[in-house]
Symmetry: C2
Subunit: 137 residues, 2 copies
Amino acid sequence: MQETDIIDLMMHHGVKPTANRIMIANAFVKEHRPLSMSEIETQLESVDKSVISRTLALFRERHLVHVLPDGGDGIRYELCHSCSDDHDDDAHIHFYCGRCGKTFCLEDIPIPEVSLPEGYQAESVNYMVTGLCPDCR
Amino acid sequence: MQETDIIDLMMHHGVKPTANRIMIANAFVKEHRPLSMSEIETQLESVDKSVISRTLALFRERHLVHVLPDGGDGIRYELCHSCSDDHDDDAHIHFYCGRCGKTFCLEDIPIPEVSLPEGYQAESVNYMVTGLCPDCR
DNA sequence: CCGGTTGTGCAACTCAGTTGCAAAAGAGTT
DNA sequence: AACTCTTTTGCAACTGAGTTGCACAACCGG
């Protein structure tokens, strides 16, 4: 993805593309995997954590990123590709490596569906496999 | 499950059954769903949070509970039923209600398996559906 | 150039969870 | 029971991730 594409994406979601925001969005493109706030903080030393916090909140509100549970204990943000501007859609499984702590998207693997018991109404599904990634095996 | 069973379970996992620990384990039996630390804190006002913290760490180490991501942003602990004393096993899906914030075990629904790409080595799988529970619909 | 809106950087704050430590409770021995 | 050693408990202090308040800077339309 080019930087111009990112800017387009942000505009399309009603987010003004400032320098900080572009850097943060670029971090997702560069790593190509869901990032935690602290990972972004480490990667972008020059950007204050308050800016990162507020930017992620904004991105989330505008459906530019969505949230998924970290394999460890927190949450991660993933750049939306197929999400519309008012609805999140994230249909692939994720893999959390217990050694390096990274989370990967396995984009080719759709989440298998299940049928819920009477009364439960699903909105979204998260499928997370924990184990060792190719680099850490 | 009777209180004597809980004590047996604890003994079997090498955990000395003190009054506090029995109360904490009972909370899981009573609620019959994964609990967060703060939920336990609320339910057992008389038990100090440091005791809860240390007890959960111990339970976890001895495979009496295992951990799963909270649908929200933290983690929850679930009493192991089928886990051996040195290995966790948790093969059913979970449901997180976005309104009341509770997490439910759907014990009858096994997690559908997927085949991972070359190089990824799975250890455990978590399948979490978010939505509205029967009480909150 | 001006005035209003939006974004930024710093410091202060919050809150869940953890840790240090001394007192209390247990368990085994004589 | 008295003694000693180990484990658990309760309190207070600490920690760290994340958020918020606020003044200043950047931006934008007229």
